[in-house]
Amino acid sequence: MFAGIDHKPSPKGWMDTPVEIKRGVACYAANPKSLETVSFPYARQWSCFDEDWQLPENWKEIISKGFRERLDRFRSVKVFMDICVRCGACADKCHFFIGSGDPKNMPVLRAELLRSVYRNDFTTAGKIIGSLGKNFKKIIGARELTQDVLKEWWYYLFQCTECRRCSVFCPYGIDTAEITIMGRELLNLIGLNIDWIATPVSNCYKTGNHLGIQPHAYKDMLDFFTDDIEEITGVRVEPSFNRKGAEILFITPSGDVFADPGTFTCMGYMILFHYLQEKYGFDITWSTYASEGGNFGFFTSHEMMKRLNAKMYAEAKRLGVKWILGGECGHMWRVIHQYMDTMNGPADFLEEPVSPITGTRFENARSTKMVHITEFVADLIKHNKLELDPSRNDHLKVTYHDSCNTSRGMGLLEEPRYVIKNVCNNFYEMPANTIREQTFCCGSGSGLNAGENMELRMQGGLPRANAVKYVHEKHGVNMLACVCAIDRAVLSASMEYWVPEVEVTGVHEMVGNALILPGETKRTMNLRSEPLPGMEDEDAE
């Protein structure tokens, strides 16, 4: 798998190596219409493969002013610009570097792309020594911001998935995600974005979800799942939408509503909620307005993140629910966990979340008032509130992929594992240095899940795929579980390419399969309408 990847950088210095924007790696520019929806500046038709990016005349001034503003607003940026000692601990931690060998994908160097300009423009030493000439600049690692440098920023800031793996190993906790976030904010100031981020942002803003599914279509999809579930279990579930007075609001990424295998996870949620409703009178509603858990604004700017995220609390308030339950998603949870309350709180119109079934008080969410579905379900299982038949998942040998954001921006490690171990009998961990806080990114997070950058995506997905391949060969693992909608889309493609014997599932698809619904007919099929183990010969009717 790794043949042909050279991790030795060339003897020529990185500042003397101009950027070469490659097809298969770079993403297409944003559709100007999408930028206009959210009133972003300098929306225009341009291409990164052109020589002329049609920058606004005063682009340098805009970037410089934007940089200054961000230094003054974020201590993280200021400190991270100043204190890196270039020890190299992060160098081989990035999945893009491991998968591509491109030295500018070493996290330290990605940051140096910006730091070099910072030293030149914002430090006293840089200004004094820099004034002596270009060679002196080079000695202190400073350089002027030119169009080539800007292109280099753009190229490499969209080769970072903001996964924070480097930050775990950095002795000062320097977080490349922070640097990439800031860098992308700067690029957005002059209309440089990629379409796979800008269009979902525009869709989320207008219709509430990144695929632009309109309210009736959203309901149609869930109706369609309802039919499927009835066919498989004999039980008709009844999800409700935009219902005022419900106790709990449920928000999940829209990817689960529209793309396999996320759809099976969505069916899992529906089965679970129905079960809880029948058994314990559980009262939950879906929303078509806040129908996107994921937040592509996070990959754009702090402001855009806030604008999209605002819908969650707004909808909770309008419907008058007590608290919010969140589905399986990675960066959605980074935003909820580390940003939402600060940006759009305080949520004083909600109540401290209490499980209506077990009475458990989710003290860890007492301010934000939003609970992760695996926290909620782990608690149910612990209190013996779910009737499960894990043998229905016996044909699966499961391993678990920790999402970057839930592991390194939250610490959700045991909850999903506890759920998985209770709904299936065969669970195997990948090697220790590739899971938990050291987990590898799926390879296409932070809005890089486009089609035109497939080469980059497969390179970035390689370290994760390699670890999956290891447990596949050692234990016969055939199912990769995850708690992230982007993972489900990305890993499916990456597995198909690197380890085709392994499929991808959400945790709640397995929950849905194992859960014994009151009044269900004998199950012969799983949620994918494939025969259950031992039922291969049974009539699927």
């Binding site: 204190i83 030295p103 906790g173 309210p215 078509t288 600060t342 934000t368 938990r436």
Partner: protein, 347 residues
């Protein structure tokens, strides 16, 4: 040839010559022995404070710790209370481990291709070990030098010296810290040159402090073990500095002034360089915050209202389709209803 380290090496050699020759000129001793050290110290203190204040002036708008273990959630799930602290106490322990034992570097792995096709991420302890040895040795050496600035010498210092010299080799007895410092600096330098990835990212400003500290340790060792500097004379001089009644003691020798000059340069250079990681580590928001952002609201001082797409605007756009699909709506369709209202400004 790598210009980054050549420039740095040349710079340190020039500094050496400057002090070595300069001190023999008329007034040289006063300049290198009194004026420069005082100036350097002032620059260090003011520069350091200025930098820290500058960092502190930028707020921490979001609570963004890098979580390196299980969060605190359900009572029966054991949290990683240090690597993912939920309390201030946990943060303090995390910071102590980070500052005193370089916790994160201890985690370091090395990604290696085996036989060109298999990849492994093995535990890599050398960077951690060299760095730890370097920082600890530097600290002990620094602490030991308080002997030159205190009268009488505190007991704690004498105990440390006993420990440091426990090998009891040679006369004067070998101090382990000095030897370790020199070795660690050398190893950190060699690592920078040998590992191609680290060489690629290294700047002149990464080599310069290494050479300078090498020079400091080297001249120190030279004086103690080889040229056998007049230690009583040195102490008379350093005590005069620390009591702000500076006067030159004759016959200490040029090497001492080189040593002092190197230290002065290091002090003056410190606040303007990466060496400020000494202060920065304490201010890193990914390490010094508790992961309790869902339990306790973190306030962003510059949080400002933003334009959002409100539910009303959304319903106005889709009302007909929503009613048709049986979705509840706030307003039913009335004849002559206004077109899309303006989006609201909302915090």
């Amino acid at each position: 040839m790598n210009i980054s380290y050549m420039y740095s090496l040349i710079a340190v050699i020039v500094l050496f010559v400057l002090a070595y020759v300069g001190v023999q000129l008329p007034g040289g001793e006063v300049f290198f022995g009194i004026i420069i050290p005082y100036l350097a110290l002032i620059l260090f203190i003011l520069g350091f404070i200025n930098r820290v204040i500058d960092w502190a002036r930028s707020p921490v708008p979001f609570r963004i710790p890098t979580t390196c273990g299980q969060q605190k959630t359900l009572p029966w799930i054991k949290p990683a209370s240090i690597d993912n602290p939920s309390t201030t106490g946990g943060v303090i322990v995390r910071m102590i481990l980070e500052v005193v034992f370089l916790r994160s570097l201890f985690r370091n792995t090395k990604c290696e291709l085996k036989a060109g096709t298999k990849i492994s991420y093995e535990w890599e302890k050398w960077l951690w070990l060299f760095s730890l040895a370097f920082h600890w040795a530097f600290f002990v050496v620094l602490f030991r030098h308080l002997r030159f600035f205190t009268e009488p010498v505190p007991a704690s210092l004498q105990i440390l010296e006993k420990l440091d010299g426990f090998l009891q080799i040679g006369v004067p007895g070998l101090m382990l810290s000095g030897a370790v410092l020199l070795a660690a600096v050398t190893l950190l330098f060699l690592r920078r040159i040998w590992i191609s990835k680290v060489r690629y990212i290294s700047l002149a400003s990464d080599y310069f402090p290494l050479f300078l500290i090498f020079g400091i340790a080297f001249t120190g060792i030279l004086m103690r073990y080889f040229t056998k500097v007049d230690i009583v004379g040195v102490k008379t001089f350093t005590m005069s500095l620390v009591t702000f009644s500076p006067h030159i003691t004759e016959g200490i020798g040029s090497i001492f002034y080189v040593h002092l000059f190197f230290v002065s340069v290091l002090l003056a250079y410190f606040p303007f360089s990466k060496l400020m990681h000494l202060g920065g580590i304490f201010m890193s928001p990914t390490r010094n915050l508790a992961n309790n952002s869902r339990a306790k609201r973190h306030v962003n001082p510059w949080n400002y209202p933003v334009k959002i797409h409100t539910y009303d605007a959304y319903e106005d756009e889709f009302r007909e389709k929503m009613i048709e699909a049986g979705l509840p709506v706030e307003k039913m369709i009335e004849p002559g209803m206004a077109a899309e209202p303006e989006e609201e400004e909302k915090e």
